[in-house]
Amino acid sequence: MEASNTIKITYREALKQSLREALQKDDRVFLMGEDVGRYGGAFAVSKGLLEEFGEERIMDVPLSESGFVGAGIGAAMAGMKPIVEVMTINFGLLPMDQIINNAATLLHMSGGQLNVPVVIRMGCGIGRQLAAQHSHSWEPFYAHVPGLVVLSVGTHEDARGMLAAALESPDPVIIFEYTSMLNMEMEIAKDVPELGISKAKVRREGNDISIITYGTGVHKCMEAAAELARGGIDAEVIDLRVLRPLDEETFLASVAKTHQALVVEDAWCSVGFSAEIISRIMEKAFYELDAPVKRLCGVEVPIPYPLHLEEASVPQVKDIVNSVQKTLKP
């Protein structure tokens, strides 16, 4: 890619640009959430948008997730295009009743009459020393629910482009954004490509092993793959992007090529998302496998505060490198 066609951008700025663009493009779009207006967002993602778009479209709400997420769902049913921000995933448990019993179910319960085109953004993930109060990787909770579209923003490209596609969806979309990546800078294309929210993406092609991941796992796996390449191991990295409905075609094709797979996620292991991926590989690509599929997940503890323990609680680059080496050279 020509240098002139790319820009260097932080994950935070990419998210903000996508919000601004959505607000500019469609009058029905508005942002609501705790501290999104005057304070500029708990993580400064919406800083400056209140001045630009006014109080009607950048709406501070009371501290009641069940209440304001419910309001967002109602607005969506009434024809608006709300973007609801839930500050962190830990608070994301409070509106679960609204999201699962209403947003995800209304299309079914109304006999196909009521779509709920709400977009709910949640700050997610581990890595800013926010301890068990404000950091967890709970994507699997939502990925379990039929009727939802669940997206995981593991790259700057998706931070910039996924929201537009989410707003196109007639069904409720949960977007997980990663607070640990907010300050990371990356080069992305100046022109936002149409990304869609139906396919996983091969972020790095390789022939020796398929590393399947999402969210913050993407950049860690890319780094691990680069290190493995120096040792002569050619790893393929797959960013799932869309946790529901799951695009299994992409990773099954990859496993059929490499015959080895490792699933990496920050979320807890038991009944986690990796279990789903591995089940599908067993069901549909068993005869392609040359070794048992392995997974690297978060340690099953509430996320600790001290940095060294926090780091130890989720897979790190060296763990991924080790695991791949062990898988390939037992």
Binding site: H259, F286, Y287, E288, L289, D290, A291, P292, K294, R295, S323, K326, P330
Partner: protein
């Protein structure tokens, strides 16, 4: 119930392949009995058991590669030979230890089936079926000895290679001659030589290839150099008295019973270490002194690499007994046929590689031990004593110590004690 685990036979060992069970359920086990043969990087090792009781149950089937620490069998300390213990139903759930990583827990069920189950990856099986390869003829290199795609592809390549070779009578081929003859080059060769040139796949449980020993040595020595801050001391020791004592002792003996200086040196080290016990220890989360003095003796293999069998309780053995142990253990070390206790029990190491032509040898400590003693070759040197200069047989002794565990003063006291014993060989 006592759990019998896959032992660690050195800092570098991560796993081992259970080649053969020497005992069966119901057998009574005495301390020191050999219970199984395990294939490691250091050869086929006889594994001894240090518990008494009845072998209750085998948990790992022959042919499986399992990590160190995996439960291999259960031993009932109160059992009666030939009888199953009462009140323990046969299908009792056994708490199988979770192996390292996510390797498959090893179950014993498979061993009971009549035919041995072949472990192969689904992909390997698919290719083998398409290519009509008999999986039972392949030994796997994958996890737990599973046959992988690569193993099957190698088998196909070998088959094609053999088929290829059976065609022509004599073809041009590069064969490296033996290095010392320097006959490498292009030659017309016949069938027999060609067959020799095809590397045969080694069946499981044979002597490990040179590379395996090399990498075992590499792993242990890298760990040592990475983790152990070595300090070195050296002392010149006059061997006249020891050598004349040996000469005297040997003159009365038939050739088979004669002693080597090495036996004397080992005994002297053992007694000197007894006076400086801090060197007879391991460093594992701090210094841990060892009660027994088991001297590891470095045996060089002609093909490269070393083995370090232990001479157990060398301080309590006579020089003759040490010589007998050497006569037993050196040929077995060279043949890679040591027992587990010989591989893992050393508490301090001696190298006398210097007896070749080097005057001094500075050892690399074998972790987790904390010292290695090096003997150079014994040769005549000028030696000053009591204001007089004389020619004496001299050995240069070095001590490499782990500075986390001991200081130079400790090492220096050891060398002093060693000298004292070698000046008084009759006390050995």
């Amino acid at each position: 119930m006592i759990e019998f685990l896959m032992p660690s036979l050195g800092a570098d060992m991560e796993d081992g392949t259970l080649v053969e069970w020497r005992k069966k359920p119901g057998d009574f086990l005495n301390r020191g009995d050999i219970i199984a043969d395990v294939d490691t990087q250091k050869g086929l090792i006889e594994i001894e058991v240090f518990e008494e009781g009845v072998l209750e149950k085998l948990l790992v089937e022959e042919g499986l590669k399992v990590p160190v620490g995996t439960i291999l069998a259960l031993i009932n300390p109160d059992g009666i030979a030939g009888k199953k213990s009462k009140g323990q139903p046969m299908d009792e759930k056994v708490p199988i230890q979770q192996p390292i990583e996510e390797t498959r827990p090893v179950s014993f069920e498979e061993q009971n089936s009549e035919t041995k189950r072949i472990k192969a990856s689904p992909l390997a099986k698919r290719i083998a079926e398409a290519e009509r390869i008999d999986l039972s003829s392949i030994s796997g290199t994958g996890e737990n000895g599973a046959i992988t795609k690569e193993d099957v592809e190698n088998a196909i390549a070998t088959r094609e290679g053999v088929a290829e070779m059976e065609k022509p009578k004599g073809i041009k081929m590069e064969i490296a001659g033996e290095p010392e003859k320097g006959k490498a080059g292009t030659e017309q060769v016949g069938m027999e030589q060609l067959k020799e040139a095809v590397p045969e796949k080694k069946p499981m449980g044979t002597v490990p290839p040179v590379e395996a020993i090399r990498s075992a040595v590499a792993a242990a020595m890298s760990k040592s150099n990475r983790e152990i801050p070595h300090y070195y001391l050296e002392k010149k020791i006059d061997m006249s008295k020891s050598l004349s004592w040996l000469k005297e002792a040997n003159s009365e003996r038939p050739v088979q019973k004669r002693l080597l200086p090495a036996a004397l040196l080992i005994k002297a080290v053992a007694l000197a270490v007894d006076e400086v016990p801090a060197l007879n220890a391991v460093w594992e989360n701090g210094l841990q002194l060892k009660n027994e003095i088991n001297i590891g003796f470095v045996v060089s293999l002609r093909t490269g690499g070393i083995m370090v069998p232990a001479i157990h309780q060398a301080d309590a053995k006579s020089v003759d007994e040490i010589m007998e142990v050497l006569n037993d253990v050196i040929p077995r070390a060279r043949a890679l046929k040591l027992r587990s206790s010989e591989l893992s029990d050393s508490t301090i190491t001696i190298t006398n590689i210097g007896e070749g032509s080097a005057d001094k040898v500075f050892g690399v400590i074998y972790p987790p031990q904390v010292a290695i003693i090096g003997f150079g070759g014994i040769s005549e040197e000028p030696f000053a004593e009591n204001g007089l200069l004389g020619i004496r047989p001299i050995v240069h002794v070095t001590l490499a110590g782990d500075h986390r565990a001991t200081d130079g003063l400790t090492g220096s006291r050891f060398l002093g004690a060693l000298n004292k014993y070698l000046q008084n060989p009759e006390t050995l």
